[in-house]
Structures are given as structure tokens and as C-alpha cells.
């Protein structure tokens, strides 16, 4: 779906992330954390048909609106 229009990537804005931990709790295959507990994207964040829904879900649960999905 999304990737047919080009590469889809999930990104965390490190300036906005405050470490609520919602992304890596909800989608541990897509997100991890650093030593201070801030969210980090695993790998380069490229999404496929299966993972894009999970990334959207994480996006919809981030209280700081720090997650975006870029095409």
C-alpha cells in the first residue's frame, strides 16, 4: 500500500520525545530505547505493509506527538 508510492519510514523527533515509553512498549519490534529511556527507531525505520499499521498505532499513542511517518 504505502510503499508502492515509495519508501515509507517511521521517525521519532528526539526534540519532542520525553520518554513516555509508549512506542517501545506497544511495538517493540519497531522501537527501542536509549540509555536515558528515550524512544529510538530500530534500524532505518523503513516500514512494510505489515509494520506500517503498528507504526501508525504507536503514532496515535505518543502523548508528545513525537512520531511521524514519512513517505
Amino acid at each position: 500500500m504505502y510503499h508502492e508510492r515509495g519508501l515509507v519510514k517511521v521517525v521519532i523527533d528526539a526534540e519532542l520525545c520525553q520518554g513516555h515509553g509508549r512506542c517501545f512498549t506497544m511495538a517493540p519490534d519497531l522501537f527501542s530505547f536509549d540509555d536515558l529511556g528515550s524512544g529510538v527507531v530500530i534500524g532505518d525505520g523503513t516500514l512494510n505493509d505489515e509494520t506500517v499499521a503498528l507504526a501508525r498505532l504507536a503514532q496515535l499513542n505518543c502523548p508528545e506527538h513525537a512520531i511521524s511517518i514519512e513517505e
Binding site: Q18, G21, M26, F33, L36, G37, L57, P63, E64
Partner: protein, 402 residues
């Protein structure tokens, strides 16, 4: 209970120690959201309560116009009790930028998911032990036999305090966060045993350094210098106080909900994969924590004539029920997929212990429902709620069903 006179109109005279607010604040907040939406009171020397998500978020993110120097509303004026901004009495929760970030970075590594996940087996065995102690009881107390014992055991181990002092820690917590409407002289006087206890612990750690947060804070350096003893002391107080009745309240509220919602209980028992989603809905719906700010200067803000040193009560639990942000906000939906709740606050002061709190809550509920897949409130009228800025059930009689 409260020594303050009863409230007649929460829009102009609110009081979070009022019995009606303590017992069931949600209808009050809904009314305020529709009528105000920022409520005012002359109590506590003047205070404001934004009841909407928008108002709470705006103030939480505005560290210019509001200071965190004092975060628990009381009858005293801030400068009598607290260290000045930007440090405050309990860094980093009482700190403002730029010092805030320095103080926060010191404690975040110990509270990051790595070290917290490592504590999970210990929390689980603690829960199992508590459940073993309740064995064969037809009625158990979800608050007094269970929830209240879990966080102190974890926090005392992190700080390196004797676990047998658990009861003492709860009395400290009561003093700081529950006895909010006492006269200020009484609050200062009753704080002394906390200071004495911490001095003994600090001396003991100086003489016998070990692998815990107290020794770490005494040893760590910022810019080549050790921390001021007031900073060490304040951060230890913060971890002890903020780490105990917050999570205890969250665990108790989740048990209270499950005891009166057999369908939700059955779903959680039958669908363990639902747990992470359900935990976030418990946190949204029963968010235990509200935090205060102080107004930095006289100003018109959110349409209100705010004065320097007015209190702001940041109602994260009220924001979590705002229908503008949450669909069916007043419904507990155990599989709610979209849930940007503010149970851990918003912005730079996001609860530093949120990973620990979430893990403790999840493990406590997992173990309880594993042992007791069916239970109900034994006496709904007997349930009592903690007053003040941290809300959760204290007396919680639960009948175990076959």
C-alpha cells in the same frame, strides 16, 4: 478528614481536599470543563485548575510563565518551605530549565527500561509472596494487603534503605502528599522525622558505599564537582515519595475497576495479550497523579487574571477524560487502541519513574488475576480514596469468588 470548610461551588472555590472531590472528582471535572474551563479558588493562597486537555497541556509545556519550584499545593507560601528556582527542594521535579535537564539526566539511566526490566522477576516474586500470605481468605484487602506493599519494597531496594522500614516510608508519604490541608507550621514540624531518617541513611551510605541510588547520588559528579548535599537529599526524597503511593494508587484503582467490572476481568484473564493495551487504559482512566506549578508573574493567561505565586493544579486525570481528545472519554474501554493519555504528565517533567510504574502495575495485575480469576467488591461503600494530589483506593475489600 479535611479541616477546610465544605465547597459550595467548585468553579470559584474548589478544594482537592474536599470530601466530594476525594470521593469522586470526575463529575466535578466534567462540570468545570463545560462551565469554566479554568476553575479558581482563594484557598491555599489562591489557585487555578484547568479542567481541559488543552489547558493542562499548555501550562505543562510553558516553563517560562510557570515554575515547578513547588509541586504540592499547601497552605504555605513557597519560599517558606522550598529551595529557590531553578533547583527547588526535590530536583528534578521541582527544577526549572536549564538546571532541570542536568538533574534529570542524573537519574534517568537508573529508571530507563533496561535496569527497570531487570527488576521484573523480583517484583513478580514479591507479588506472589503477598498473594501467598492472603491464601485461604475469602475477603482480601487489595489496598492494604497487596497494592501498598509492592512499590515500597522496590523503592527501598533502589535507594538502599532497609526494607523493614516500609511502614515508615508510607507515613512519610502521607505527610508529604496526603496531609495537604494542615497549617504550614505543622507541616514543617512533621517533616522533621523524614529529615532525620534520611540523614541516618546518608551517613550510613557514606560509611559503607554500595551499589544503589543513594551511593550513586553521593558519588556522582557534575562538571567535576559532587552534588550539593541538598540536591542529593532532595532527589532521594523525590524518589521515595513519588515512587510509592503513585503506583500503589494505580494498582489499587485497577483492582477496584476489575472487581466491579466482571466482563473486563474475564477478558483480561482470557486474553493475556491484551494486557499492555489495558494497562494504558487503566492509566488513562484512573490516572492517580496531579502536579502543581506556581505562576511566575502577574498575567492574563487562558483568560484568567493570574497572580505571581498563585498555584496551578495540573489535572492530568481530568485531561484524560476530555471528550475533545478522547472518544467516549468517560467510558473505560479495555481495548482502546488510540490513547494519548497524560497519566505520566507531559513535556520535560514526564514522570521519571514511568517505566517502573508501568512494570509494577502490569506485574501486580497479572499475578493477582492469575491467582484470582474471579473477584468482586466485598463492600463497595467501605472503599476509601486517598485525598490530595495522588488519588487511589486505600481500603479495598475484595471478595474472592470460586
Amino acid at each position: 478528614m479535611s479541616v477546610n470548610p465544605p465547597v459550595e461551588d467548585f468553579a470559584t472555590d474548589w478544594d482537592h481536599a474536599d470530601p466530594e472531590w476525594v470521593h469522586d472528582p470526575y463529575p466535578i471535572w466534567q462540570d468545570l470543563r463545560e462551565r469554566c474551563p479554568v476553575a479558581h479558588t482563594e484557598r491555599y493562597g489562591g489557585a487555578w485548575f484547568p479542567a481541559t486537555h488543552e489547558g493542562v497541556a499548555k501550562i505543562a509545556n510553558d516553563t517560562e510563565n510557570f515554575t515547578s519550584r513547588a509541586v504540592i499545593i499547601n497552605n504555605g507560601r513557597p519560599d517558606e518551605l522550598d529551595m529557590p528556582a531553578p533547583i527547588g527542594g526535590a530536583p528534578p521535579i521541582t527544577s526549572d530549565p536549564p538546571f532541570h535537564q542536568i538533574a534529570r539526566r542524573l537519574i534517568l539511566p537508573a529508571l530507563a527500561p533496561g535496569p527497570i526490566n531487570a527488576l521484573e522477576p523480583r517484583v513478580r516474586s514479591l507479588c506472589v509472596d503477598l498473594l501467598d500470605e492472603m491464601k485461604d481468605h475469602e475477603v482480601v484487602n487489595g489496598g492494604m494487603d497487596y497494592a501498598q506493599h509492592i512499590p515500597p519494597a522496590v523503592i527501598s531496594r533502589m535507594l538502599g534503605f532497609p526494607e523493614e522500614d516500609e511502614e515508615l516510608f508510607r507515613s512519610f508519604v502521607h505527610q508529604v502528599v496526603n496531609a495537604i490541608d494542615q497549617p504550614v507550621e505543622q507541616r514543617i514540624e512533621q517533616f522533621q522525622p523524614i529529615i532525620d531518617y534520611f540523614e541516618i541513611q546518608i551517613e550510613d551510605h557514606r560509611a559503607h558505599p554500595r551499589d544503589d541510588l543513594t551511593s550513586y547520588l553521593l558519588d556522582v559528579e557534575v562538571g567535576g564537582e559532587k552534588l550539593a548535599i541538598e540536591h542529593v537529599f532532595g532527589t532521594m526524597i523525590l524518589i521515595l515519595i513519588a515512587g510509592i503511593d503513585t503506583t500503589w494508587s494505580a494498582i489499587g484503582a485497577a483492582l477496584w475497576h476489575l472487581a466491579k467490572s466482571p466482563d473486563d476481568l474475564a477478558r483480561l484473564v482470557n486474553e493475556p495479550d491484551l494486557m499492555p493495551i489495558a494497562i494504558e487504559e487503566f492509566l488513562r482512566f484512573y490516572a492517580p497523579v496531579t502536579m502543581a506549578r506556581l505562576v511566575n508573574k502577574d498575567m492574563e493567561y487562558l483568560g484568567c487574571p493570574m497572580k505571581e505565586y498563585d498555584w496551578i493544579l495540573l489535572g492530568f486525570p481530568a485531561a484524560n477524560r476530555d471528550p475533545k481528545v478522547f472518544e467516549d472519554a468517560d467510558k473505560f474501554i479495555i481495548d482502546r487502541l488510540e490513547n494519548r493519555h497524560l497519566a505520566f504528565g507531559l513535556g520535560i517533567h514526564r514522570c521519571a519513574g514511568s517505566n517502573l510504574a508501568r512494570m509494577e502495575l502490569r506485574v501486580a495485575i497479572e499475578e493477582f488475576i492469575k491467582r484470582y480469576p474471579r473477584f468482586e467488591l466485598a463492600d463497595p461503600e467501605a472503599v476509601t480514596w486517598a485525598p490530595g494530589q495522588i488519588r487511589g483506593p486505600r481500603n479495598l475489600p475484595i471478595r474472592i469468588l470460586a
